[in-house]
């Protein structure tokens, strides 16, 4: 399993980054980033609360969403085969990709067969996950992102830091700089007098992208949902740029994680309510595009659906961890997470940041390859409350923490310092006598230190960098209880 998982490591892009605590440090020092994130997540958070609060049956909708997703995952093989048959019946072609490499190879081949050297892209997490743009570039094919935020990220040669709002870490002044500096390299340059007025920025992007929409013969998209019974694929977006890609080109290639299938077209009723309210705080999604195979004289004449595994069936085998596959990529957990709010997405070293990333990424790549991520949470539970399909993220986090510890134990001959501390602590807690002795030692030590300690040694120094530590009292409660016979001595009341 280890070698197979080690191979998969390359299959979720950009996991070569340092562990979460290291990656977070420079980000935490970035005041501009902190304030951009605080403003953006705060705004979305309030909007989400307002629009979820106005539905009387919001909790029932969540329960329904959870039920459909969990049932689908239990019978995933059945629904995927049904989906394949439905898509083929509707005139599409279906391809199965075991990992990122295979998916990239399939898409590259399909683009080459059209004779084209460029594609327009609809915002897609699956293609981010497998690093499709980079793979296409190696094959001499230019991939242009058309989602506004993805465009900003691509022009800046940056990485997305949010699932839904990839450029959440940028403010409009930074965006103006990026447009002015980079648009000309990819196509129509930004106007020379571009200001940081949002309308002016949007207009510059519109003109830049329009050229690409009208020229492109091939489009690549992801999928939010695909219904097994009809073979219908659905993409939701806010700008309409995706719809341009989904209708104007001759060939459409959709890369979809296998967990995105839902049993029936009618199930979309649930998710098209849950998703926009959870993600952008909107009652309804501005653009919802649905297509079923191909239709003569309407939209692309060739449709390919690439079904991507890339660690998903391995995840499915874990009865606790598999709930992460129910994710509908709404980002509600990112927007309520106090850790994400401080660090942003780049610290997570994955295209899936935030709480869901902390449980999804380690499962897709093998927990030993992303061992710091399950610990990048205080377990405050805000993510679980916000999740529209009730993924118990804290449960999966502690589950994966145990796996991370077990996998380290299996690989190391000598126990880590942390393992020794935990072992020693467990020994102290094994009997009340040992606990009392340890308390007495701590209390005696404390007598020389005053009321608080402002400097702690070794691994504890992270605490005392910012906080005073309390000094254990001379007498523990249990010692007091024994001395006063349960506090019955009046003086010691």
């Amino acid at each position: 399993m280890t070698s197979q998982r080690a191979h998969q490591r390359t299959n979720v892009v950009w996991l070569g980054s340092p562990s979460f605590p290291e990656a977070a440090k420079p980000l935490l020092r970035d005041e501009q980033l902190r304030s951009n994130l605080r403003r953006a997540t705060g705004t979305i958070r309030e909007r989400r609360l307002a629009v979820t609060g106005e539905l009387d049956d919001w909790e029932e909708l969540r329960t329904a969403g959870e039920a459909v997703k969990r049932r689908t995952l239990r019978h995933l093989d059945h629904y995927l085969e049904q989906l394949e048959a439905s898509v083929v019946r509707a005139g599409g072609q279906v391809h199965w990709a075991a990992d990122a490499e295979e998916a990239n190879r399939i898409v590259t081949r399909l683009v080459r067969e059209t004779g084209e050297r460029e594609v327009v892209k609809v915002k897609s997490m699956a293609t981010q996950e497998i690093g499709l743009n980079e793979a296409l570039a190696e094959a001499g094919i230019d991939a242009y992102e058309t989602d506004l935020a993805e465009l900003i990220v691509q022009l800046a040669d940056d990485r997305p830091s949010h699932i839904l709002v990839p450029a959440i870490h940028r403010n409009r002044a930074e965006i103006r700089e990026i447009f002015t500096a980079a648009m000309g390299r990819y196509g129509r340059p930004a106007p020379e007098d571009l200001t940081d007025d949002p309308a002016a920025l949007a207009e510059a992007a519109r003109l830049h992208l329009r050229e690409k929409f009208l020229r492109a013969k091939v489009a690549v998209s992801g999928a939010n949902f695909a219904s097994a019974d009809t073979g219908t694929v659905a993409v939701v977006e806010s700008e309409g740029n995706g719809r341009m890609c989904l209708t104007l080109p001759e060939t459409l290639i959709t890369v979809m994680g296998i967990e995105k299938v839902v049993p029936a077209f009618s199930d979309l009723e649930i998710f098209l309510q849950l998703l926009p309210r959870s993600s952008t705080g909107e009652r309804m999604n501005p653009y919802t595009s649905l297509w079923t195979g191909t239709t003569e004289g309407d939209g692309p004449s060739t449709f390919h659906l690439v079904l991507l595994d890339n660690g998903r069936t391995a995840t499915l085998a874990d009865a606790t961890g598999r709930q992460a596959l129910a994710c509908i990529r709404c980002s509600a957990c990112l927007n309520v997470c106090p850790v994400y709010e401080r660090t942003g997405g780049h610290a997570y070293g994955s295209v899936y940041p935030g709480p869901i990333g902390a449980v999804l990424t380690p499962q897709l790549v093998g927990v030993e390859n992303a061992a710091s991520l399950p610990f990048a949470s205080t377990l405050c539970g805000a993510c679980y409350d916000a999740c529209p399909v009730k993924i118990d993220i804290p449960e999966v986090l502690t589950h994966l923490r145990a796996q991370a510890v077990e996998s380290r134990r299996a690989r190391r001959k000598v126990p880590s310092a942390e393992a020794l501390v935990m072992k020693a602590a467990a020994a102290v807690f094994a009997t009340p006598g040992r606990l009392a002795a340890a308390q007495k030692a701590a209390g005696l030590g404390g007598r020389f230190l005053g009321d608080t300690v402002s400097r702690l040694p070794g691994p504890l120094s992270g605490w005392s960098d910012a906080r005073d530590a309390p000094v254990p009292p001379r007498e523990s409660f249990r010692a007091w209880w024994e001395r006063t016979e349960g506090g019955t001595d009046e003086e010691e009341r």
């Binding site: 850790v339 401080r342 935990m422 009340p432 402002s454 605490w463 024994e482």
Partner: protein, 245 residues
């Protein structure tokens, strides 16, 4: 009612005054309180850090010590959360049949202090007097773990002399998170800074919560800044009376 105090190892060692306050409060309300001295720890630190097999002896000890009591009360939502939500998980993963049954038998009788007072003893006015300006941090394990809701605030509102002020962004995590504060010290500190700003905005002289671990974290930051804000466990406020003046 004969109540067992599960003080938790952390309170026992570092905050004995909280234990004394719980004993005083429950006795004042007319109940017998026992502290079974064989108790040690719930294993939360081990659980949250990923060391599950180590917890099994602690779990076994807990069921042996507290199995015979009608009610077990702890002044810590996070430790009660560990018992209520995670004991069954660990017992099913690593325990034998006997342990699983013992866990299932004891779990429903373990209560967090504020929910025990409000739900079991049906009291919100505990006869306390505390003439200070107080703000209350609800803590994640109380709010989202145990769903304690406004029970602590209902208790505090009945305290005579108290000037209870609302904490801005009260539901945000303070950044403690057990070993998170050590493993991700920089992020934890950033969260702490925002929490302290909110506390200081209230002008309160006392910050209260139902968990001493969060209070140790926030209070440790507040004393570092010489802010003059004291951290006091909910139980200590509820145990205070006019005679203490």
């Amino acid at each position: 009612m004969r109540i067992a105090l599960f003080l938790t190892c952390f309170n026992d060692t570092v905050y004995p005054q909280t234990g004394k306050a719980v004993v005083r409060l429950l006795r004042r309300l007319g109940h017998e309180v026992d502290f079974p001295p064989a108790q040690t720890c719930c294993g939360q630190m081990h659980f949250n850090t990923g060391y599950r097999p180590e917890i099994v002896p602690m779990l076994r000890r807990f069921t042996e010590v507290f199995g015979g009591y009608e009610a077990v009360v702890a002044p810590s939502p996070s430790c009660v959360g560990m018992v209520r939500h995670e004991f069954p998980v660990v017992a099913r993963q690593y325990g034998d049949n006997a342990l699983r049954e013992a866990v299932d038998a004891v779990v429903p009788r373990v209560h967090e202090l504020s929910e025990f007072l409000v739900d079991e003893l049906k009291v919100t006015d505990v006869g306390a007097y505390y003439p200070h300006r107080v703000t209350y941090h609800p803590t994640c394990h109380s709010l989202r773990g145990l769903r304690s809701g406004d029970r602590p605030l209902r208790l505090l509102r009945e305290v005579r002399g108290i000037d209870l002020v609302e904490l801005p962004e009260a539901e945000s995590c303070c950044g403690f998170g057990g070993t998170f504060a050590l493993k991700n010290a920089a992020t934890s500190t950033a969260m702490l800074a925002d929490k302290m700003t909110c506390v200081r905005e209230t002008g309160a002289e006392v910050l209260s919560a139902a968990d001493n671990s969060c209070l140790m974290h926030i209070g440790g930051g507040l004393t570092r800044l010489s802010s003059g804000v004291r951290s006091v466990h909910l139980a200590e406020i509820l145990a205070s009376t006019e005679e203490d003046r």
